[in-house]
Symmetry: C2
């Protein structure tokens, strides 16, 4: 069973205080798919140019990533360049060359439309709406359990807010970075921002907090929070949020495949998987670490998470004094 | 059975986007003592001027706070004024009038010297050294289990670094805000900063992360992390870090009193108590919320913490597919 995801595949050039790489596999969907495919099949809906290196196609094929929805168009692949500051928390975009992405018209292959999880990764909300329409048709006819999720960014909040709000009305889960949640809701209070978002479509809001972990708000008033994995060094945070989404939705997809439904327990576990995949993504440049990651390494880090977050449920022992 | 703590007692004037207060009870030690005294007796070592209002003395006397070490000197009490920005995360100090605090010579009453917990709250490291000398004499002769803890701030890291490093050599626990840990160790990596600090005296480092909670590193390689309590609104964050220290050390002191020792389980619970007291402190101006706080409300929030942080220890159910 599968996740159908639309988003960007790009060639990234990244400079950090510790090194740099040029024209490597990038784009939110690449990070997402390489993470999520450790859990379930990922159907890609995206576009690349004829300059897209065959070896990057091989990275996808080596995993359970279906490429029938990946269009190859005459022209240049989307290219993005950025430079990180010394603290690795802020970066400057050096250039954005859209290439064939400028005229991208996503077409969801018929085989993809019935996937259990639909992920509208961070791209122009109009394109997200387009994919939403194509996949909603199928859901209406077969009626099986499915999760529709959305990610976005500051650019769309600033430039195409109304379209973004329209996409939100048709999703179950929204994933968003903390500053962007505040920006979208125009409030400094994260709880107020969560209520704003949960009143506009999503039943679950997942807030990504970078090196502080993630929190999750349910429309039913539920709340869950988990710290991040304490990395010794961050090599390159590019794509960590996308890998987070991959771990989160990948885990949920695998549960839907196994059990036909997801529970509150699964959502909590999924958030831990998001934190885990996000942490691995930071350990090497670009998608490098995701390429070598194994389910055993994920399981090991999950055990570590349990170890460094759990505490006694009773706030003190029986009085002895 | 008690905590002996040295620090500042002040009269604060605070402006936030939502209101302002003038000349209210403030100073790191006031917040600390009102929080910690919900768990155990607090012996105060501090100085105020003859202008210090009697009603503030009553706040201390209403709790198990011993005032024999609180000097009252001819002159003005330390006064501090600050204005918070709209996001409540940053503030400008408007004035600092040291008053009688400028000539403060802490004298630890003989009855205070054998306390189980010694807390060198955030003041000039030279004064911390002075108190350390006075209390260490007793420890040397009686040899009972005791915890010596330290807090500090950016000002002392910048201006009296060598004295601060000297104080660190003689403590068991260091509490510090995240930015200050990085500043002290001159590194962007929190793990590297933790190692730097743990090589210089403290056996346990507690890093306060404000609205993101707290993490704890042990010299034995142990690690624990917990998110913050998700407050709807922050009324006034002044003293939240001091209330955190009060919850953390107060809980440990109560365990030492009951059980004669503290375990890893206790340290983890203590960190949750720190987060709880820090969250309550933000709910009203100055020390207001700490004055009305009850053990039952602490216990209730502890249960909430368990509820929104725990997750399944196994990363998936037995395969069914």
């Amino acid at each position: 069973m599968a996740i159908t995801a639309v988003g960007s595949v790009a060639l990234d050039s990244i400079e950090t205080p510790f090194g740099s790489i040029e024209h490597v596999l990038g784009g939110a969907l690449s990070h997402f798919a390489l993470a999520a495919s450790l859990y379930d099949t990922v159907n890609m809906v995206a576009v690349v140019g004829t300059d897209f290196p065959e070896r990057f196609m091989q990275h996808f094929r080596a995993r359970s990533i279906d490429l029938r929805g990946l269009q190859v168009r005459e022209g240049a692949t989307f290219r993005w360049g950025a430079r990180y500051h010394l603290d690795m928390n802020t970066r400057d975009t050096l250039y954005t060359h859209l290439g064939v992405f400028a005229d991208f018209h996503p077409t969801v292959p018929a085989e993809y439309r019935g996937a259990e999880v639909i992920f509208l990764d961070n791209i122009l909300p109009q394109l997200q709406l387009d994919v939403q329409r194509q996949t909603d048709e199928v859901a209406a006819t077969d009626g099986s359990t499915r999760l529709r999720a959305l990610d976005t960014m500051n650019l769309w909040i600033e430039t195409t807010r109304e379209d973004l709000l329209r996409v939100m009305r048709g999703v179950d889960i929204m994933l968003i970075a903390e500053e962007e949640a505040r920006q979208l809701a125009e409030t400094p209070s994260l709880r107020v921002a969560a209520r704003f978002i949960l009143e506009r479509g999503p039943k679950l809001l997942v807030v990504k907090q970078g090196s502080y972990g993630a929190v999750m708000f349910g429309a039913d008033g539920s709340f869950f929070a988990a710290p991040a994995y304490p990395l010794e060094d961050v090599c390159d945070p590019t794509g960590a949020g996308d890998a987070f989404a991959g771990g989160f939705l990948g885990y949920l997809a695998s549960r839907l495949t196994r059990a036909g439904r997801v529970t509150e327990t699964d959502y909590r576990r999924a958030l831990i998987h998001g934190n885990i995949l996000g942490s691995f993504a930071c350990e090497a440049f670009g998608v490098e670490r995701l390429l070598t990651l194994t389910p055993e390494q994920i399981a090991e880090r999950y055990e570590e998470f349990v170890g460094f977050t759990h505490f006694e449920g009773s706030w003190r022992d029986a009085p002895t004094g």
